[in-house]
């Protein structure tokens, strides 16, 4: 396990004020940044560190566990350097929006639509922010922790899962 990472060092040099936390978990490098600078960080990583593929965009709901309810997660892959980096950005429930990574990576289009659909996080400047897996008239966001497993209008399952 390496002690430093080529991209993390560069990020620390250029975005010192925006970085909230840098850590390594089981060999994966994770950098948490403020959500205001997420687009700049992603654009910098794509331009300067050749992370040319945004593999995945998702979110985590920390309801009741953290003051910032949501955490956006971006998985980056570098094809030439053959390594990965994870960027995270906290999002509060009161201001449930973040800049859209479609400004940097085309692949964010559908991935962010899915996060919007299932978590209800809005993406500023997203060209086509609609629901994607649920029907357009669906109410609520199923992957939020306060959304019941059985759906909103149904009796909770009394078996082993409830």
């Amino acid at each position: 396990m390496a002690d430093t990472n080529r991209a993390v060092e560069k990020l620390q040099g250029n975005f010192e004020a925006s970085i909230v936390e840098v850590k390594q978990d089981r060999g994966d490098w994770i950098v948490t940044v403020k959500k205001e600078s997420i687009i700049d960080v992603l654009a910098f990583l794509k331009r300067e560190c050749r992370f040319d593929m945004l593999t995945d965009v998702t979110a985590i709901d920390y309801l009741g566990k953290s003051s910032d309810r949501f955490m956006m997660v971006y998985q980056l892959t570098s094809v030439p350097f053959k390594d990965r980096l994870r960027i995270k950005a906290p999002v509060t429930e009161a201001d449930c929006s973040i800049g859209s990574a479609t400004q940097v990576y085309a692949s964010a289009g559908w991935l962010e639509r899915e996060v919007y659909d299932l978590f209800g996080i809005k993406f500023d400047k997203h060209p086509d922010l609609r629901r994607i897996l649920m029907t357009p008239d669906w109410e609520g966001h199923p992957l939020r922790k306060d959304y019941p497993l059985q759906g909103p209008d149904r009796e909770p399952y009394k078996g082993r899962l409830s």
């Binding site: 593999t55 998985q75 289009g109 649920m134 899962l161």
Partner: protein, 390 residues
């Protein structure tokens, strides 16, 4: 009707060439495609939500049902992520059998791709042949796991059980004949004028666009990007196997077809290498916190029964943390991102399905081409709606 009228048509969700329940709203000017809006979600079962309410062990069968044409690849991705969280070592025999089964799964998935892709374009014979070979792989699945599709065979720490003695002979015989079968498919397609006309220059996407839009797997390599996770970010012991990574040049459907056919030959080579190092030994790690006890001890000793009951009812606790595990599934990069809060259920499990991201490129690839070419493009992207909708 005026000549310049733009027509909106609905393709799917019951269209035979949409490989499941993909629906696309297409705007056409004559036969030329102006706009495609794929409508997905018909098969959404909420696997990610369900997994938050199940133990790690109970989540495993859900993964079979993502890409149901390659269940063991899904199992592998999930199990590797859980093992990375737990930090347990897998015995060598289990590791080798996993490689054999995962490569067989790649063959199985590519055979379905080839069969359906050819059938969509009008080559019926290949369909029949490819499904014949796939049947042998299904029989192997049945032999080792009891199920033909939803295998549920891997376990955190190894395998659910050892393979029966006839496994090696059956797979070795199949692998010996497979290159000949691939020659047959190539003989039927590669120089076939209709096939060439339908695939050369169809669905072109440049290397830069493909990377930017997140395409992975054979579709990315068909566009000339030399990137294969098995070689470049190795997992499950792939770093010790020798194989070529085929790369296309023209970025079209024909090149993606060639890439996948070579991949099938390389999978056969990997399986042969794996058999050479397959030695008898345990198939489950020695970590009683996580692994089920042997059935013999469950039936014959009270300690074994309690042990079994404890894992089955409570599950095993997974240390706090978060991991991302991406594997080279037959269709592209299949990623599992698991966040654990220290309990026996995943706090959050995100599945990064290759087909979902690859399908996003369809508008870029098909815009401006004829509606009949769209059928070839759906085929070449090799999508499975089970993992797109989850």
């Amino acid at each position: 009707m005026a000549n310049n009228e733009i027509m909106t048509i609905n393709m799917g969700p019951q269209h035979p060439s949409t490989h499941g329940v993909l629906r696309m709203v297409i705007e056409l000017d004559g036969e030329n495609i102006l706009k495609i809006d794929p409508d997905i979600g018909y098969l959404h079962r909420g696997v990610e939500k369900l997994s938050e309410h199940r133990t790690y062990h109970q989540t495993l069968p859900l993964t079979d049902r993502l890409d149901y044409l390659a269940p063991m690849s899904n199992n592998l991705g999930y199990i590797l992520a859980v093992e990375k969280l737990l930090g347990i070592e897998v015995p060598e025999r289990a590791q080798t059998i996993r490689i054999i089964m995962t490569e067989l799964t790649r063959l199985k998935s590519h055979l379905v791709w080839l069969a359906c892709h050819a059938l969509d374009i009008g080559a019926m014979t290949v369909f029949i042949y490819a499904f014949r070979e796939r049947e042998t792989i299904m029989e192997t699945y049945e032999l080792i796991s009891g199920a033909r599709m939803t295998s549920n065979f891997y376990r955190a720490g190894g395998l659910s059980q050892d393979v029966p003695p006839e496994f090696e002979k059956k797979v070795r015989e199949f692998i010996a004949t497979m290159p000949g079968y691939i020659d047959t498919y190539e003989g039927l397609l590669t120089t076939n004028p209709i096939w060439v006309k339908r695939t050369v220059g169809n669905g072109v996407i440049s290397a830069e666009d493909a990377t930017d839009i997140g395409i992975t797997g054979p579709a990315l390599r068909g566009s000339g990007v030399d990137f294969d996770l098995r070689r470049d970010i190795p997992y499950a012991g792939y770093e010790s196997y020798k194989f070529e990574v085929p790369v296309g040049k023209e970025c079209d459907t024909f090149d993606r077809y060639k890439v996948r056919l070579i991949e099938m030959r390389e999978s056969c080579k990997i399986i042969n290498q794996a058999f050479e190092r397959l030695k008898p030994g345990p198939v489950l790690a020695d970590s009683p916190q996580v692994c089920y006890p042997p059935k013999d001890s469950v039936y014959n000793s009270i300690e074994g029964l309690i042990h079994h009951f404890k894992i089955a009812s409570e599950g095993y606790k997974v240390p706090e943390g978060e991991v991302y595990m991406g594997i080279e599934a037959p269709k592209g990069e299949l990623g599992f991102y698991i966040v654990s809060d220290g309990s026996s259920k995943p706090y959050r499990m995100r599945i990064r399905p290759p087909s979902f991201v690859n399908l996003q490129a369809i508008e870029k690839m098909a815009k401006g081409s004829m509606v009949a070419d769209l059928v070839a493009i759906i085929g070449t992207l090799d999508i499975v709606l089970g993992e797109i909708d989850r």
